[in-house]
Amino acid sequence: MLGCRGPPPMRGMRRRWGPAMADPDYQSLVFSYVRSPDQDAATPAHHPVVVVGAGPVGLAAAVDLAHQGGVRVLLLDEDERLSTGSRAICFAKRTLEIFDRLGCGDRMVAKGVGWKTGKVFFRDAPVYAFDLLPESGHERPAFINLQQYYVEGYLLDRARELPEIEIRWKNRVSGIAPDSDGVTLTVTTPEGDYRLRADWVVAADGTRSGVRALMGLESKGRVFRDRFLIADVRMSAPFPAERWFWFDPPFHPGQSVLLHRQPDDVWRIDFQLGWDADPAEERKPERVIPRIRALLGEGVDFSLLWVSVYTFACQRMERFRHGRVLFAGDAAHGVSPFGARGANSGIQDAENLAWKLALVLQGKAPERLLDSYDAERVPAADENILNSTRSTDFITPKSEASRTFRDAVLRLARDCAFARRLVNSGRLSVPATLRDSPLNTPDEEPFTGAMVPGAPITDAPMRLGDRPCWFLRQTGNAFALVHFMGADDCPPEAMCSLATGSGIPLRLLAITPAGARPPPAPRGITLIEDTEGLLAARLDARPGTTYLLRPDQHVCARWRHLDPPRVRAAMARATGHA
């Protein structure tokens, strides 16, 4: 029995969601508090993993853990609702690929507004447009816009399909006592406190993380002295599904404005207000509506759905692993909204952590594998913070000299390509390449292209049997060995010997060139046809080339020939054994 409930038709039911099924109003769902037998236990009940916070990151972590060999997860949330207001709306290609692996990507993409074009305006004129995914041959678009409450709702629906996950609403962590074997948590509910014993705790409880505060830890960095107004409006507007960004427009002089399209005829408008703006005043409809009217012009009907005034900081914790407590998402690091690097990076944290935690819990990897979570995601956070800080400094110049240069760049950008490269209205989220990860096996043979050890593997159109498929859908949730064959090759028998022995699941994929008709593959090997040759091109692969992919679809090693001892050594390294 799951501890979470909503109004009909969801009550007490586990069901599979298809794109055709109508969505509930996720913002209005209230999940009742249900008393758990743990609250009456004589000694604290034991749970392998407690995830704190049922936001996008906590939900993704819980679903991912359930996917990694069926880890049992208890998810605690202090509230009884999903996100109020659209909040994070831009979900990047890599995040969609993670959602695909978690079994809810199709719903996200079906509902979301796909986009890849951004347009930049300076004062009253367009400056330039950029394309975030100029090549075809990828299943997922560069971005979708989707209100956070849909993302959380779809992840929650997915979580409810998984028997490994239990969710307890109105359960706030009010005490935490970590030791070397686990963590004792005190949980406060409407019916009083109770205690739990967890082997591991994932703190995904947001910017003002309660777990972080209880442990006396801080997230430190730079606070930006600027205020922004977010307004969601519903209207029928003729604008295309593109990201439009204005520097110093006539309708909002001296500041910046951002316009995004969301599903349900909802539009996000983001107005820079400056540090001196009064947040309470600026939130009032009589202040907000004229600003929107100035942007849209007269004669456009709209209704105001949600308004928020926010400030932000670029910050992070010094470390994300503190013994048996692991911090993820906004609890661990914060960025400005420019670049959509908050929720996207948090979901990448969750996926980086899930497979490692699962292997440790299953006794297949030593605890020190979790140090690599820190070693990989701290530099990723720094990359996001760097990009986010640079964008913010361009958008909101802090000195006269900075503003002079920014405006000069914008003036030159109309006819100089180099200046367009300098315009920075947000460097939009791309996943970090974990270049310096201790889990990578360095190349011993030359390769070209972007798919270096540490890179998230790229997608490509393929064929499996008679049916078209996407490469990424054939990978993930387990290690995968991807071996490229020549037109007349048979899959090497040596592949099969690698699938057994280590106790760590390894999927075997043999890639055939377009049009090849190989004999049936030995048992355990999946043959996939590289129908357009794009996978080989993107991976700089030749017959014999072999890639080892992690359960999170990142490259951890590659070779020009299949050599079982080297594959075993790379697997050992990628699981913290070497």
């Binding site: 004062r123 990009n387 640079r390 400094d393 361009f394 110049p397 000195s399 006269e400 000299a401 900075s402 002079t404 240069f405 000069a408 760049v409 003036r411 030159l412 006819d415 100089c416 390509a417 180099f418 200046a419 490269r421 300098l422 920075n424 460097r427």
Partner: protein, 69 residues
Amino acid sequence: MPTLNTEPNIADADAFYEALIDMHRDLTPEQSAAANAALILLLANQIGDLDLLRQAMAKARASVATAAD
């Protein structure tokens, strides 16, 4: 005659821009203007070619003249 390159030519453009803005940190507007003048002179000397410099000057002036400031 060589032609002014207006295509991207700096590998890490964002890092360059950050360094440029950092150069002005804690300077007064007068100091910033003076530092910019010094920087232009240094870069002009590095380029060396007067034809290129004249093209750059024309482009810079035109960017101001056409923008309705």
